[in-house]
Amino acid sequence: MSSPEQWAHPDQGAESAATTVQPTPEQVIAGLRATTEGGADLIQLLTPEGERVPSPIFDPYVADVDIESLRELYRDMVIVRRADREANAMQRQGQLGIWVPLLGQEAAQIGSGRALLSNDMAFPSYREHGVGYARGVDFKELLGIFRCSDQGQWDFARHGFHPYTIVIGNQVLNACGYAMGQKFEGKVGNPESSGGENEATICYFGDGATSQGDVHEGFVWAAVYDAPLVFFCQNNQWAISEPTERQSRLPLYQRARGYGFPGMRVDGNDVLGCLAVTRWALDACRNGNGPVLIEAFTYRMDAHTTTDDPTRYRLSDELEAWKLKDPIERVRVHLTRNGGADADFFAEVDKAADDFAAELREFCFTMPDPPPERIFSNVYAEPSPVLDAERDEFLSYLDGFATAGGER
């Protein structure tokens, strides 16, 4: 099902719908989530035990990843995890209003994020701090959203990293429109020799989001316009308290077939696999063979957000089983076993991560609150005398308190 070859030639070996056996409910659940290996179609280059599995199709896409590059991927993941834990702790200490943890999804985010080229565009949902990091967004620039002092204001165009989208699924259509624009502007399918630079877009969303109308419309639009769009679904098994089988009867990647484009399931805890599969998909898109759906099969190791209490709806056994498939640990084992890194390297990375966390903390504690006039700024691109008057009236009202003896 998940071989790109098959999708390039969809007639070969494709079963007709009439002869396809319907899965039993048990099979559905096993295929969708559970703590199994994600099914026979799972693409994996690095096993949880740190073994490198050869893949004729995907190996070429990571042929350049030598030990040094793997060490960098490891470093990225450790730093992102450390930053995530620090932010989580800062929420507990009242420094952030809320935090949306990415714990467990480091490989999916770093692998896919590092697959992007500088002209590519990424549309995140709200958990993609790791992708942002890979796109060169300073982690600090994300904190304002969760401190509730801004709504995200990094340089979106420069980083190729769109603002976070909280309304589930909205960004999928937006990403599709952006990708259509890339195509309309001739940035797709140019022969390498022509020197024309090709582009692609990637859009992140969750397993829960796959039920949302916007996501389905995004599939339709992208297919109809051959948009250079990689749909990157992080199936972390849960949409708050609802397991993935509340959203689908068949494994999510298989949905792509119905819309007429390739769908693949990759081990979302395998950074090398995620890098390879995403590079493959981006390449397909840049060459005019988009869109592509990637389902990164992973696990939300922490609560949905800091306000959530997962003990109400899931068993700790499940978490324990997934801990054995930790995305960072397998790289560490692989590096160690293959002489790619020694204790000094790991200590140095840990130290760098600690320093990064300390920097974040320092930054967060000294982050200024926005001034009241920020409420009124940039509501419109064009001048708004009505709003200017509303602002002035409010500011002079506030001044009244200051002159009346600093009641505020």
Binding site: G97, I98, G144, I145, F146, R147, C148, S149, D150, Q151, I166, V167, I168, G169, G208, A209, S211, Q212, G213, D214, A239, I240, S241, E242, R246, Q247, T307, D308, R312, Y313, D369, P370, P372, R374, I375, F376, V379, V386, L387, E390, F394, Y397, L398, F401, E407
Partner: protein, 348 residues
């Protein structure tokens, strides 16, 4: 939520005289018990929403209901608001009485089409052949320090739709009764819940589950006064009450009206009040332009023109998107802003 839940059956046993019919409840718990009672009274009542089952909703308003009524009656739906509301319409056609939970008001918009095009219009289109006994519960309003889309007040968008009714509760007694009345109504009702007050211990009040409730679509004078009339609903009611308490300590008695029903509006008590006080201050968290307060002010100046001692005033959110929560204390109407408007009206 800390109070031990009464057993499932206690609410159904009808002992009008028994003091055990009185429970001290928060708004959240009162809604929970009201939903439970409605489900016991009519097995066609279903609950649909995201995370409403095992989790009991992100605010725990449906806590324990799936456990007691089963997955056939409390449905953890796929993540799609158009789906939740659109299927509720179909279930209603089939004779069910669906109660939909929208997780936060900012997430209702994927379902707006179904609300506007089917839910609000089927009864009219079919000239009454199809009824739409659907309730959509919407936690709304700000003041909880949340990220974007979790603090808005979109109620006027819905009050504007003919064919739809809109209500908002502001205290535990109303929460308990209004949710049941909404569920027994044959009309579609948007039920706006003041989320920041859900678990407020300070608002805990005795709810007599054997009492006779007031009609659903009535506004109510909840504090008497002579100097000016404050009108609010949902979370703004408490702001008005706090302002009235503060003004009273300085000798100014303000009348406070809880609107309760946003569509249809019951403004007769407001007109009566303004004819006595000569001053109106209408309060809501939503942006002012084309909001419910616009409607109230327009109607009051029409009906009470010769009684007004000052222009009818409004205290509202600003005409901007809801700001980052670090700024929400400025955006939300508070006691100071209400009293400032009272001062202006008094000194006009």
């Amino acid at each position: 939520m800390a109070a031990p839940a009464k057993s499932a059956n206690s609410a159904t046993v009808n002992h009008p005289e028994a003091p055990s019919s009185v429970q001290n409840l928060t708004i959240g718990k009162a809604l929970n018990l009201g939903l439970r009672k409605a489900m016991e009274d009519n097995d066609k009542v279903l609950i649909l929403g995201e995370d409403v089952g095992k989790l009991g909703g992100v605010f725990r308003i449906t806590d324990g209901l799936q456990k007691d009524f089963g997955e056939q009656r409390v449905l953890d739906t796929p993540l799609a608001e158009s789906g939740i509301i659109g299927t509720a319409v179909g279930l209603a056609v089939r004779g069910f009485r669906p109660v939909c939970e929208i997780q936060f008001e900012g997430f209702i918009f994927p379902g707006f089409d179904q609300i506007n095009s089917q839910l609000a219009k089927l009864h009219y289109r079919t000239q009454g052949k199809i009824k739409m006994p659907v309730v959509i519960r919407v936690p709304y309003g700000g003041g909880i320090g949340a990220v974007e889309h979790h603090s808005e007040s979109p109620e006027s968008l819905f009050a504007h739709l003919a064919g739809l009714k809109v209500v908002s509760c502001a205290n535990p007694v109303d929460a308990y009764w209004m949710i049941q009345q909404a569920i027994t109504s044959d009309d579609p009702i948007l039920f706006f819940e003041p989320k920041r007050l859900y678990h407020s211990g300070a608002l805990k009040a005795p709810v007599d589950t054997a009492a006779t409730p007031e009609p659903l679509h009535k506004s109510r004078v909840i504090r008497q006064g002579t100097a000016a009339t404050l009108v609010g609903y949902g979370p703004s009611v408490q702001v008005c009450l706090d302002a009235a308490t503060a003004a009273s300590s300085e000798g100014t008695e303000l009348e406070v009206i809880d609107l309760r029903s946003l569509s249809p509006l019951d403004l007769a008590p407001v007109f009566d009040s303004v004819r006595r006080t000569g001053r109106l201050i209408a309060v809501n968290e939503a942006p002012s332009e084309s909001s419910l307060t616009s409607e109230i002010v327009a109607r009051v100046q029409q009906e009470c023109f010769y009684s007004l001692e000052a222009p009818a005033m409004r205290v509202t959110g600003f005409d901007t998107p809801y700001p980052p929560a670090k700024l929400e204390e400025h955006y939300l109407p508070d006691l100071d802003r209400v009293l400032h408007a009272v001062d202006r009206a008094m000194n006009w």
